[in-house]
Symmetry: C2
């Protein structure tokens, strides 16, 4: 799993920082998470192939999280895209996208599917044989979801040496990976566990932005491999969190600790701070494994 | 009058080129003309003071001309703007802006006034004591207007030497500038033309993007000091103009010549061309005084 930060600053775009957008590469998918203004340029800058994006997840309808979406949808049209595009986001997103396309008399050359969200409970919004995506209801000024991206447990791994030792025919490989016991060349039943190894531990990534300190989300993000949690402010400005419904670096770390995640990635910094190093220092007082998102940075999860 | 090109490329934003947007400084106004995605960043990059923008003119509702507007409106809110903002653009622009503000539960801290356009005839859409702005109906795939920005004839200039020679009291200066004859200190009537000079010739700027070759606009832009005319393609690709309703550099020059403008500025280049120099060469075969718009370039008019 690989996470590329396209933008991780709050509020308005500036020449050197970008609003929220991320690309998650997971099991052959490229998921786009949020899409602030200028995301299409950031995708070009980091050489993300447009045609590989088939699913876009929008947390909430504040501009710094979705004003770049209509431009991306339009560019896909101009480029002659044919592949389906799925957009998961709060109710209302379909109306505003379609209105803009209608006003521009845009032609449709690819299927655009909207999956509008309005539940206040966590729900599965995407699933295939390798990945599950769930919403993480958050608490912000407007209806907002985070998302958890979970790999499913993979197939069992073949133990080549054991296969040979037990004289098992290799035409059974697919069945063996799926966990079946098989007969060997002498007609003897060989138990699966003798010829396979445990699959790799599935990984998971949780994206939680924007939200005030909200421990109710902990059961849904429990034990994830990596948690991105917003930290708009430092503790010295925690009074601003009440009004704006954002979190401090310390609060993000408290969530990470309570959810016993493996690592915490901070982001969505207010542009009032000239350096972001202090966010790490503050969070580390509560939770040790803290990293800072930065525009263009990649995280191998 | 000073024109700053914030973006002058067609289609989609790229790391190094920007979609259409311009700032026209005229008689103490800063007019924003079109507002493609990323315009607020370009305004920051070129250090344009946000609070001085009070009028935004949108030619048409294709994304590369207005997808940056909602971000700019939102940023103005975040920054606590109080001054009124006037937006002139095709019918529909109000609905789409207000829908996005509603979905984001944005608070209004400044008056936002929409002036929706739907006339197919040229009309005056802004006027004060120094400037007039008219629409220039154009021919594109959707309803589109260019704009002409005209200075009004200024006050007459005081001829200081003549004032002294004719023994005129300086308390009359304002009346004299406005063209009045006045009595001098000996009670003799002094004709205005004896103590003033002609005002400077008023300047004018016409913005024509996007449009196919459309000579019907010529009477409205006749004799302007500077004409910005789109040239999406070179003549070798003129077949594309028919489908997309754009112009070639040669066609832009034909309009400039027929309208006897003083200078022609080309822009809205298709991103298919690696160099824009050829646009100038082609246009100069028809009209001599041709310049190329480039992102960040300033033109003193």
């Amino acid at each position: 799993m690989e996470l590329t930060i396209l933008g991780c600053y709050s509020a308005t775009p500036r020449p050197k920082t970008h609003p929220t957008s991320q690309i998650l590469s997971i099991k052959n998918h490229l998921f786009l998470i949020d899409c602030g203004e200028g995301t299409q340029v950031q995708l070009r800058r980091y050489k993300v192939k447009f045609s590989r994006i088939k699913h876009v997840f929008i947390s909430h309808l504040h501009g710094d999280h979705y004003f770049g979406l209509i431009g991306l949808i339009s560019t896909f049209m101009l480029l002659g895209r044919e592949a389906e595009l799925n957009i998961y986001g709060p109710k209302g997103i379909k109306e505003v996208m379609l209105l803009q396309l209608k006003l521009g008399k845009a032609w449709f050359n690819y299927p655009l599917k909207f999956h509008e969200l309005e539940s206040k409970e966590s729900e599965i919004i995407f699933e295939d044989d390798k990945v599950t995506v769930l919403t993480v209801p958050l608490k912000h000024r407007i209806y907002t979801n985070g998302f958890v991206f979970k790999e499913k447990i993979g197939e069992r791994k073949i133990d080549i040496k054991a296969i040979k030792n037990h004289n098992v025919d290799i035409s059974y490989l697919q069945k063996i990976k799926q966990g079946s016991d098989v007969e060997n060349n002498e007609g003897k039943l060989i138990l699966n566990k003798l010829i396979t190894l445990n699959p790799e531990k599935p990984k998971s990534y949780a994206f939680c932005s924007d939200t005030q300190y909200y421990p109710a989300c902990i059961p849904i993000i429990k034990n994830v491999t990596a948690l991105y949690h917003e930290s708009s402010f430092l503790d010295e400005h925690r009074h601003l969190c009440e009004k704006t419904r954002h979190s401090t670096a310390r609060q993000a770390a408290l969530i990470a600790k309570e959810a016993t995640v493996e690592r915490l990635i901070l982001g969505h910094y207010s542009t009032r701070y000239s350096s972001i190093e202090e966010f790490k220092t503050e969070a580390k007082q509560v939770f040790d494994n803290v990293e800072l998102a930065e525009d263009g940075k990649k995280f191998i999860i």
